[in-house]
């Protein structure tokens, strides 16, 4: 089957910088064939001081289903760039969860084009960032067909002086009637010196849709902290427990092993 991109808003493959091109490993083109189901679950530990770029070009054919959960550990001095371009046909689904435990620099760019009726896309980026680390996330979903479901979530815990810039954009095209889209960018700020930028964008070009977005930035609830401390936890342990709860709701529905891996890498 030949897939045609929507002419007015083609999925944008973000060009690599010179440095990213040089450090590009593992460039992959994936095709999930009609009716297939494929799952990936990987844990990758980047070396200290290493620079790595990961590029992925995915095509999900009709009635195919893909689930990719990738967990990265990015130590101090390391730099990770993740680039995804995904095209999704009718009645197909694509779920991509990226989990980061970061002390270095992380850049994530995902452009998803949904052009098949009743297709479904779920993107999540979960991160726990320490020290003076930096994370920049930019996700875009273009929905061109009717009855699509689009869900975009970013949840980042910022410790110490970590910084995050999260941008999400959902474009609901003229043909995307009866689609249901939601976007959420949340930061849990634990470090006094930490900072966050959130830019949740929506562009809706037809009226018969459900569409919403939300963004929050803040410290853990004082009441919840008090409750946990009064039960014998140290303040730090209580904060970590609330941070786990903060990211966990984006892991609901994933395979148990993946959830365990993600939580272990991010919080242990």
């Amino acid at each position: 089957m030949k897939l045609t991109l929507h002419p007015s808003a083609p999925a944008r493959l973000i060009p690599l910088s010179e440095d990213e091109r040089l450090t590009l490993v593992d460039p992959r083109e994936l095709v999930i064939r009609e009716g297939d189901q494929q799952n990936w679950n990987e844990v990758t530990i980047i070396g200290r001081g290493e620079r790595r770029s990961v590029s992925l070009d995915v095509r999900v054919e009709p009635r195919a289903h893909g689930q990719m959960i990738r967990i990265f550990v990015v130590p101090e001095g390391a730099r990770l760039t993740i680039l995804h371009k995904v095209r999704i046909a009718e009645s197909a689904s694509w779920q991509n969860v990226i989990c980061i435990r970061g002390q270095g620099e992380v850049k994530i760019r995902r452009a998803i084009e949904v052009f098949g009726r009743e297709a479904e896309v779920r993107l999540a980026c979960l991160g726990v960032m320490d020290n003076s680390s930096r994370i920049s996330v930019s996700d875009e979903i273009f929905s061109h067909a009717a009855h699509t479901k689009n869900d975009l979530r970013t949840k980042i815990v910022l410790n110490n002086a970590a910084r995050s810039e999260a941008r999400g954009r959902i474009v609901v095209g003229e043909q995307s009637n009866l689609s249901n889209s939601y976007e959420r960018l949340d930061h849990l700020v634990l470090g006094e010196q930490a900072g966050a930028v959130a830019i949740p964008e929506l562009e809706v070009n037809t009226d018969n849709v459900k569409c919403g977005h939300g963004a929050t930035s803040g410290r853990p609830s004082e009441t919840e902290l008090f409750y946990l401390v009064s039960r014998g936890l140290s303040l730090q342990a209580a904060e970590q427990l609330l941070a786990q709860g903060f990211v966990s709701d984006a892991l609901v529905g994933l395979p148990e092993q993946s959830v365990q891996d993600a939580l272990t890498v991010m919080f242990d």
Binding site: L158, E174, N177, H187, V189, L190, G191, E192, Q193, A194, G195, A196, V197, A198, I199, P200, E201, L202, E203, V204, N205, T206, D207, N208, V209, K210, C211, G212, H213, G214, A215, T216, S217, G218, R219
Partner: protein
């Protein structure tokens, strides 16, 4: 007042006493300043701003401005009259226009003072004697420059909206004319609102009124602005500027209903600087204009300063309403609340573009932003582009937005109770806008609802 489209869209036959040639030149800027007999510092400021404007490119973001040709705009048009303190002294054709807009009636019934501007000059200005006795100053901006030069020099386009702020602030500083100056002394509460109404009447006209409000410590004032223009085939330009200084413990409520005609580019700047314990409340309605770029901003620089913003925008056929609110928090314990409602129909485009900036010094900042968009048909567009830039760990910031259309169930329910489809739609739209409309004084709320209904007729 009977709100009909003709009230707003018919031009008066008044012949101005002076009309500058089309386009923007140094000679025109010099002429404006000379005719107004301005002090040297203002003359220099205008020229400096013109130089900046000429060097600065048009913004590359936001709505298309390609239809705006400054060489085809008249930047200075003076009506053939002087400012009066009684409506009887205003030329009859101008007075008729303001009578139709309901201004004298509103003054009699509900206002503490009124200013009325026609093209580039104020034609009427009056303040109730009891407010004057309390030391309240409510004057035409040109008059204030002559009578209170030190006060104006200190606050006029200095550290609230400096002349280099952006392209259209530069333009405004070069060619501003008329507008409102308000000073409320320490501790004085102005119980009833003050109002100014700005009317453009000339084809290819530009209006550049400047509003400067200084609410001294512990004072309280509500100021209302209304704007309209007749409909022509050629483009018109409005690039006003509002600067508000809210001193410690003061409160300013600024309400504005902008209903420029569909040929108008409305590229307006509004900003408030709020000191400790002060409160700024914005209520902003954007109905008219072909293209609007308007983002009222609150700079909360004193401990415990507050900002409250309520906005409505309606984008009908051929319109792009690009509006939103910006808030910058600099001091501890500041809070801001933003509620924006937009409607788009008939192929119109509404954009919410906002900014929340919490700086390192804003300990314990709290911000809530909610923007709701209602789409009246499938050919219109709604976009939201909020930016939240948080530089402190202890800030609490929440943003929520929804985009949707009128509920089928609600429409069915209302129609089953005997309402026509249009009546049912009007009822649901009124409900959608209610949180904003209820904050207006009754007579303005009625006018706003009627204006929305007029706009919806064009969509239907």
């Amino acid at each position: 007042m009977v709100v009909t489209r003709e009230v707003y869209e018919q031009a008066s036959l008044h012949e101005p006493k002076f009309t500058a040639p089309l386009g923007l030149t140094r000679e025109i800027v010099v002429d404006i300043s000379t005719q107004k007999n301005e002090p040297d510092w203002m003359f220099e400021k205008r020229l400096q701003a013109l130089e900046l404007f000429e060097k600065t490119a048009f913004p590359k973001w936001g709505p298309k401005l390609s239809g705006l040709d400054v060489d085809k705009i008249t930047f200075f048009i003076r009506p053939n009259t002087r400012e009066s303190k009684t409506w009887e002294d205003v030329p009859v054709e101008i007075r008729d226009t303001f009578e139709k807009l309901g201004i004298p009636q509103a003054e009699r019934e509900a206002l503490g003072g009124v200013g009325a501007q026609y093209d580039s000059d104020m034609v009427y200005h009056n303040l109730k004697a009891d407010l004057s006795a309390k030391g309240v100053i409510f004057e035409n901006m040109d008059v204030a420059l002559q009578r209170h030069p030190d006060l104006v020099r200190e606050y006029f386009m200095t550290n609230c909206v400096p002349i280099h702020d952006h392209k259209f602030a530069m333009l405004h500083a070069a060619v501003w004319s008329g507008g409102t100056f308000i000073y409320v002394p320490k501790g004085v509460k102005v119980e009833i609102p003050l109002q100014a109404y700005f009317r453009m009447n000339t084809e290819r006209g530009g209006q550049f009124e400047h509003t400067l409000i200084i609410a001294d410590e512990g004072s309280d004032v509500h100021y209302i602005e209304g704007c309209s223009a007749p409909r022509f085939e050629t483009a018109a330009l409005h690039a006003g500027c509002v600067e508000i200084f809210v001193k410690s413990g003061a409160r300013v409520r600024y309400s504005s209903i902008e209903n420029w005609s569909k040929n108008t580019f409305n590229l307006n700047t509004k900003r408030a600087v709020v000191d400790a314990g002060g409160t700024i409340e914005w209520l902003n309605g954007n109905m008219g204009s072909g293209t609007t770029m308007l983002y009222p901003m609150s700079v909360l620089r004193g401990r415990g300063a507050k900002s409250d913003y309520l906005g409505i925008a309606f984008a009908g056929p051929g319109q792009h309403q690009d509006t939103g609110h910006k808030v910058a928090m600099i001091a501890p314990d500041c809070s801001a609340n933003v509620l924006s409602k937009s409607l788009s129909g008939g192929g119109g485009k509404s954009t919410y573009r906002g900014l929340v900036r919490v700086t390192g010094g804003a300990v314990g900042a709290r911000v809530k932003v909610q923007c709701d968009a209602l789409m009246l048909d499938g050919v219109s567009v709604s976009t939201t582009t909020p930016v939240m830039r948080i530089e402190r760990g202890d800030a609490t910031v929440a943003h929520e937005a929804t985009v949707g259309r009128l509920g089928e169930t609600e429409l069915f329910y209302l129609q089953s109770r005997g309402l026509t489809e249009q009546e049912a739609i009007r009822t649901l739209v009124a409900g959608f806008l209610e949180p904003v409309v209820r904050e207006l004084p009754l007579e303005y709320a009625v006018e706003l609802v009627k204006l929305i209904e007029l706009e919806m007729e064009s969509v239907a």
